[in-house]
C-alpha cells in the first residue's frame, strides 16, 4: 500500500509530500524524503518491552509496572526535571506541562540547547518572520547565516529557496540570490552567490558592520571585519537593499557561539534596518521535528517557551537557572523524565554524571545513549509513524501528522496520561 502526503517525522521542515510504501507492518520504501527522513521512516530495530535497571543488569517489565514505577519516582521526587519533548506531538507535551505543575518540577525542552538563545533575542526585540510559503513565492534574496541546510535540513533549498519555483518570481532559479555566512566552507556555501567566510566568533561584528552600511555609514567600516573585506560587506549590504523581498535563515552557528542571544538580537535588528528599504524577514532553522511545538505548547500553557520551574507552585522562567543543562550540572534535580530527546548524547559530560546518580525514566522507541542512565525505559510509538498528533513546522505552522503503521506500541500521550492519572491519585491521598 502506498500512503501519500505523509509528514516527515525528522526535522523542523516537516516536509508533507512524502510517499511511503507499507507492506504488512513495515515501511519498505520512501519517496520524496531526504536521506535523514528516509532512514527515520524505514526505522531501526525498536525496543520490544519496557526495561528496568536491576542493579547491574536489565530486565523486562510490563507496561503497567513501568508506568506505576515511573509515577512513583516522579511523585516522590522533590525537584524532578522533565526534559526533551521535541520528538513528540503537542498532545503529549500538554500532558507534560500538567505533570510538571502537579509535581512542582521543572519542564524544559531541547530548545534550551538549540534555539533557546534565539527565543531570548525574540523576547527582547521581536520576530519579523513569515511562513516558508511566503519565502518560496516571494523571496529573491535568501541568506543562510550560521546554518548548513544541505546537511541539517536537506530539502530546505529545494522546497523553499534555491531550487524552488516562486509564484511571484519569473525564473526563480536565476532570479533568486543566495548568500551564505559561515566559518566553514560548507556544501551550502558551495551553491551561494556570495559566501562570507567569517572568523570564528565574528558574527556580531559582521552583523554590526552590515547594520552600519544599511544605515548609510560606509566610512565607519574598517578594511576588514572578522575576515570579511569592506568591499564584500558593501556588496552584500547593497544586494540586501536592492532585493524586493529578503529572507534570513539562521542556525546554531549564531546561537552556540560567543554572544549567543546577542548575535540573534543583532541579526533581527539588521533585518529591522533593512525593512526601512525593502521587505525582509528572519527565521530560525529549527532542527528537531516538533521543537517549535514544544515552545508553542509551553507558551500557551505556562506563559513561557522553555525552562519552566514549578517549584514555587507557579510558572517561573529564568534560562541559565531553570534550564536542563544548568540544573543537571548543578546536581539540582533528584529525578528525571526524558522524552523525545537523547541528552546523554547531546549534553556535556557533567550533566551525565548527575543523570547517573538519580532515577531516570525515559520514553523512547529506541535504545539510545540515555538508555545507559535509565532506571526505566518505556518503548513508545514513533510520532508520525505509528502515532498521530500535531507537530509545528519551523515557521510555526501546525501540521496534523498521521499514522502510517499500526503497532501495539502505546503513544507518548497514552503513557504520560496513565502516569499523570496515577500521580493525581497519589497526590489526593
Amino acid at each position: 500500500m502506498i500512503v501519500k502526503d505523509v509528514v516527515c517525522p525528522f526535522c523542523g521542515c516537516l516536509c508533507d509530500d512524502i510517499e511511503v510504501e507499507v507492506e504488512g507492518n513495515r515501511v519498505i520504501s520512501v519517496g520524496n524524503a531526504c536521506e535523514l527522513g528516509t532512514t527515520k521512516l524505514v526505522g531501526e530495530e525498536r525496543m520490544k518491552k519496557p526495561i528496568l535497571r536491576d542493579g547491574g543488569e536489565w530486565r523486562e517489565i510490563t507496561y503497567d509496572e513501568a508506568v506505576q514505577r515511573s509515577a512513583d519516582i516522579l511523585t516522590s521526587a522533590e525537584r524532578p526535571l522533565l526534559y526533551g519533548w521535541s520528538g513528540t506531538h503537542g498532545e503529549a507535551q500538554c500532558v507534560g506541562v500538567h505533570m510538571a505543575e502537579l509535581v512542582r518540577g521543572v519542564i524544559d525542552n531541547t530548545s534550551s540547547v538549540c534555539h533557546g538563545p534565539s527565543i531570548l533575542a525574540i523576547q527582547e526585540v521581536g520576530h519579523p518572520g513569515c511562513t516558508l510559503g511566503v519565502v518560496k513565492n516571494r523571496a529573491d534574496l535568501v541568506i543562510y547565516w550560521g546554518s548548513n541546510p544541505i546537511d541539517a535540513h536537506p530539502r530546505h533549498l529545494s522546497r523553499y529557496t534555491y531550487y524552488a519555483d516562486g509564484f511571484f518570481l519569473e525564473n526563480a532559479f536565476r532570479d533568486r540570490k543566495i548568500i551564505v555566512v559561515d566559518i566553514r566552507k560548507t556544501e551550502t556555501a558551495n551553491v551561494a552567490d556570495e559566501f562570507l567566510q567569517i572568523e570564528p566568533g565574528g558574527d556580531y561584528a559582521v552583523l554590526s558592520a552590515l547594520r552600519a552600511l544599511v544605515r548609510g555609514k560606509p566610512e565607519t567600516i574598517p578594511k576588514t571585519v572578522a575576515g570579511i573585506t569592506r568591499e564584500q560587506l558593501i556588496r552584500v549590504a547593497d544586494l540586501c537593499k536592492e532585493a524586493k523581498f529578503g529572507a534570513v535563515f539562521f542556525g546554531l552557528g549564531l546561537t552556540m557561539t560567543q554572544g549567543k542571544y546577542k548575535n540573534i538580537r543583532n541579526a533581527i535588528e539588521l533585518v529591522s534596518e533593512l525593512n526601512r528599504h525593502t521587505k525582509f524577514t528572519i527565521s530560525a532553522m529549527r532542527g528537531h521535528y516538533n521543537v517549535y511545538g514544544s515552545n508553542e505548547v509551553n507558551t500557551w500553557m505556562t506563559g513561557y517557551p522553555y525552562g519552566i520551574d514549578y517549584s514555587r507552585g507557579i510558572a517561573f522562567y529564568n534560562p541559565g537557572e531553570t534550564t536542563a543543562v544548568d540544573i543537571l550540572a548543578r546536581k539540582e534535580c533528584d529525578a528525571a523524565l526524558i522524552i523525545g530527546s537523547d541528552p546523554a548524547a547531546h549534553f556535556p559530560r557533567r550533566c551525565l554524571e548527575h543523570l547517573a546518580d538519580i532515577p531516570v525514566i525515559q520514553l523512547d522507541p529506541y535504545p539510545n545513549a540515555t538508555t545507559a542512565f535509565c532506571n526505566i525505559q518505556i518503548p513508545v510509538a514513533v510520532t508520525g509513524i505509528d502515532a498521530e498528533g500535531t507537530a509545528y513546522r519551523m515557521d510555526g505552522v501546525p501540521i496534523r501528522t498521521r499514522k502510517i503503521l499500526t503497532t501495539d506500541y502505546p503513544s507518548d500521550e497514552e503513557i504520560l496520561s496513565r502516569m499523570y492519572a496515577l500521580m493525581q491519585e497519589e497526590q489526593e491521598r
Binding site: E35, T39, T186, M256, T257, P319, H346, R349, L355, P367
Partner: protein
C-alpha cells in the same frame, strides 16, 4: 597543538542518530575533521587516532581531512564524543559553548571507544538489545 573545536550537524550524524548503538553512529560522531596542513604538523595520516583534551577531560577520536575547515579549527559532528570534553557552563543562558571550545590535540595509539563504553565511564549501564 591547540585548536578551536566546533560541533555541528552532518548528514551521516543525522542518518545514524536514531541508532546510537551502531558502529556507524560511533564512527561519525568520533570523527574530528581537520585541515590537511594541521594534520601534517601533527604527523597524522587520514583516520589516525587522536587524543583530544578539552576543559572537562579527554577523548579519543579519529582525524579526517576536510576541505571545509580552516587551519586552527576542527569540526566534530554533534554527539557523545565531543560532549565528553565540553564544559557545562552556559553563561546564564542555558546554552553551553558547543561551538567555541579550545582543545589540545595530539596523536595517540589508543582507539576510540564505543558509545556505550563512554556512557559506562560516566556511570551508566550499557543496554544490549
Amino acid at each position: 597543538m591547540r585548536f578551536l573545536m566546533i560541533t555541528g550537524r552532518t548528514v551521516n550524524q543525522g542518518v545514524t542518530v536514531e541508532n546510537k548503538t551502531s558502529p556507524a553512529y560511533a564512527e561519525e560522531t568520533s570523527t574530528c575533521f581537520m585541515h590537511e596542513l594541521d594534520m601534517l604538523d601533527l604527523g597524522l595520516d587520514d583516520r589516525d587516532a587522536i587524543l583530544v583534551t578539552g576543559p572537562c577531560g579527554m577523548v579519543v577520536m579519529r582525524a579526517v581531512v576536510s576541505k571545509e575547515v580552516e587551519m586552527g579549527t576542527v569540526f566534530v559532528p554533534y554527539g557523545p564524543y565531543a560532549n565528553h570534553i565540553i564544559d557545562a557552563g552556559t553563561h546564564s543562558t542555558g546554552m553551553p559553548d558547543f561551538k567555541s571550545h579550545v582543545v589540545e590535540i595530539e596523536s595517540t595509539d589508543e582507539e576510540p571507544k564505543m558509545v556505550h563504553k563512554l556512557m559506562e565511564d560516566l556511570g551508566g549501564l550499557a543496554y544490549d538489545r
